[in-house]
Symmetry: C2
């Protein structure tokens, strides 16, 4: 059983994050030149300490991420790092771990970092993907290939944690005990290269000492500014950090402070990594959703393959978008895939209620009155032996949502069963932790109709476009789109919509 094999050695997201954050703390980000001599570069840096890991990547220029074995090496590096001497007077003298390598005598050198060593942080163009997939052996292979082509690389993941860590240095100026953690698709296992970087400022460490040490009947308290609500505090903190990032943050551009949103955030682009960043604070429920999604992705490899494929398909079909609107979000879509997998017979993944029932005492988590408890020890989870193939599952997914009773029913991954809708939104997907909320209340009827129509179309398409026979294939049309490839071509849904169901 593939599922069980791959589950060995699973770590909870919490453990993975702690390790990654620690690596990031010991790392620096250096903009360099594609003609940099790699060996000399390493020799130069090694004089400041052992290098544990490094890599080069391309993103509007060549950059290097260098992880030292010890944090002290970064301090040692800083000792020889200078303030740029050009237009010295008009620089904001804020020092960070984002550095530039100056390299004498480069002009005559050939490009020394070949493409092989320097990792790309973007996906291949969709057209090329479609062509590549057409060359695969089976639809299962296509799905696996698509996932491999789009999923976050080890390097990209490290870079995400490093950007969090750089931002943490800014926040830690005021809140030394804080951490900044990535959440959402950067870490839930379903992130595509190029997805945004959702971050969350965690101030929980600060509440540390709560009990007063009384000596002689006296105790001391910090004087602190009071706000009207916890939300106002979050807004205050994000105002300041947003201002810092805007005025001081090297490589941070297009800073927007979106403080009146349901979840206040600071949005900016981090140029040296190419990431679009969203920083929130006090967002612990979102972190729990992320952990839950991660857990589901780790339970059975088919979960991740299917989510990837559906996300990718939805984006190609214009069902989802990179900007928010009345369409389905990737988060909703992921929950829809999970729900579908819970509804298989036998189910491929357990319900949230089942995961809660398996939780130990240490797993208990109640956030703002919401029960967010679920098991963290993966080995306690018993899976049923469903042997459906990826091809079968994808076809069934389209079929499932082509005929789902969206009008009456709510999607509920807590129970693994549709429930009567508690309210009239076109699409109702219960928030697994804040159970009175609908995570897809933004979706309007038009967008839901489009989703259903594209499911119907795709269900039909995938039947029509089976893999061509080898003989047919050889005759000049070897890479004609078939299977998954055909699903990624632009939709004809506006045309077929009126045709009704196949």
């Amino acid at each position: 059983n593939v599922a069980l094999q791959e589950r060995d050695g699973c770590k909870s997201l919490y453990a993975v994050q702690a390790e990654r954050l620690d690596q990031a703390e010991r790392s620096v980000l250096i903009s360099c030149n594609s003609r940099t001599n790699e060996k000399k570069f390493l020799k130069f840096l090694s004089t400041h300490g052992n290098i544990k890991k490094y890599f080069f990547y391309e993103s509007y220029g060549t950059h290097a991420v260098v992880e030292f074995a010890n944090r002290e090496s970064v301090a040692s590096l800083f000792e020889i790092t200078t303030i740029p001497s050009i237009s010295h007077e008009s620089l904001v003298p804020f020092k960070s771990r984002l550095l530039t390598l100056r390299n004498l005598g480069l002009d005559n050198l050939p490009n020394q970092l070949s493409g092989q060593q320097s990792h790309s942080q973007t996906t291949i163009p969709i057209n090329q993907l479609i062509q590549n997939l057409s060359g695969e052996e089976s639809m299962d292979q296509q799905i696996i290939s698509l996932t491999k082509a789009f999923q976050l690389t080890e390097e990209n993941s490290r870079l995400r944690f490093l950007v969090c860590s750089l931002l943490k240095d800014i926040a830690a100026a005021f809140f030394p005990e804080c951490t900044i953690k990535p959440f959402g698709s950067s870490v839930n296992g379903f992130g595509k290269l190029g997805c945004d970087l959702d971050m969350f400022l965690d101030l929980d460490g600060i509440s540390g000492r709560d009990t007063k040490l009384l000596k002689l009947g006296m105790s001391l308290e910090y004087q602190m500014k009071m706000a009207n609500s916890e939300r106002a505090v979050t807004q205050s903190i994000l105002t300041v950090i947003g201002e810092c990032v805007d005025q001081f943050g090297p490589g941070c551009v297009g800073v927007q402070k979106i403080l009146n949103a349901r979840c206040p955030l600071v949005r900016f682009a981090h140029q040296p990594s190419g990431f679009q960043c969203d920083l929130t604070a006090n967002n612990r429920v979102a972190m729990k959703s992320t952990e839950l999604l991660y857990l589901y992705g780790e339970l059975d490899p088919r979960v991740r393959y299917l989510v990837f494929t559906v996300r990718c398909w939805a984006r190609a079909q214009g069902i989802t978008s990179s900007i928010p609107g009345a369409w389905i979000s990737n988060f909703s879509l992921t929950v829809m895939v999970l729900f579908f997998l819970q509804k298989r017979s036998p189910p491929i993944i357990p319900t949230v209620d089942q995961l809660r029932d398996l939780a130990g005492p240490a797993d208990k988590s109640v956030i703002e009155g919401n029960d967010c408890t679920f098991v963290s020890d993966f080995s306690k989870i018993q899976l049923q032996s469903n042997t459906e193939t990826l091809e079968q599952l994808l076809c069934e997914f389209f079929e499932f949502y082509s005929t789902f009773a969206f009008k009456r029913m709510s999607i509920n991954i807590r129970k693994g069963k549709e429930q009567n809708k508690p309210e009239v939104s076109p699409l109702h997907i219960q928030n697994p932790f804040e159970t009175t909320l609908n995570i897809s209340k933004n979706v309007n009827a038009t967008q839901l109709d489009r989703f259903v129509a594209v499911c119907q179309e795709s269900s039909w398409l995938v039947q029509q476009n089976k893999k061509p026979t080898p003989s047919a294939g050889i005759k000049g049309n070897a890479f004609a789109p078939w299977g998954l490839s055909s699903l990624l071509l632009p939709s004809q849904v506006e045309g077929i919509k009126r045709k009704g169901k196949k």
Copy 2:
């Protein structure tokens, strides 16, 4: 000679500041209760380290400034300091050295800190001062008394440096090498209790390493945000610090960011000290003016007495104001007193040019192209033996400016001689360092006329209101205003103005 006696052991302002800033770094500010038991309080704090100095003061409640012998004691104190537990959720968890003492079982205690131990940070009311001065023996004594009553106390001066140090903690979050130094009347020796606290963020420490250490032809630079000008950098930095003070700074209220002024600044009130604060950055010329004024004040005690008296007189007569406008500033007024003292025969103080000529190589200072060099070693300065009394000098001051050729002449303390006006402002006082600027260009003709009229009136008044003879005094009018007291009563200048010169 009093002047020479008091000059022994003079320190330059630079040395005084370094010592005060160091004390402030080791100090905490604690809001407590007037019923706090002083002995217990000290015992409680002493468990964290040696206390070098402490005092209590009143400002909308009782506060204590506690200076430890070592910085580590502050860290030790922080270990037992808690976050306030009331409305825990809506506090901005920024920790600073502004603390609150919680004190159990106070309710039944009498007030334990008597007024004697708890220092006031405000001056006595002007009416009471007038009465007190009337009881003095001579006008010289009145002038000395006024200065003693109004000048900054040791405690107030410490408190000013402590507020700078608290603010530095915020700025040091981003610029670890920065300092925040007081300038203007807080440190130039002419400050009155209650005067504003002018501060200046000094980032010069940051430019530290300028030379590249090349190894293997490589070197590293920090990536830093670029601005269009040095002014834009200053604005950026003050924007962020202003936002931090506003959102995080405990006790900081009414924050205004005045960034488009000639000298961009952040203005706020610091409640626990009662100071109105102005924070500027990159304001090194103002620091030099402050050092110059301090030096003049240290050279001969009559300088300080006279400046104090003239400042106080001008405020009582409505010639100066606590808000800026078309009237004469305290800074201009001080320079006018200095100029007057340079014009005595023999001169009481040297000219700026003379001070520059005495400067050693280490004193050389050129700021933005302006020569700000002057001698720092006080012992090199030879004074002439002028023996005029304070009474004589004050009377002569009024006489001097009653008849000064403001229309044609500019006041110039660099030369110690009036010069032809280079431009048409009603009042022209050359900026001693930025010599093309007029420090009183804000003053309009009406305000200058009022100044001259009040000088004339005061010159006349002081002749009229000599000290009453002892016999006359005893008959019920012992404290009738005379001498300096009479000069502090509200002016009748609007009436006498038409009368012309006496």
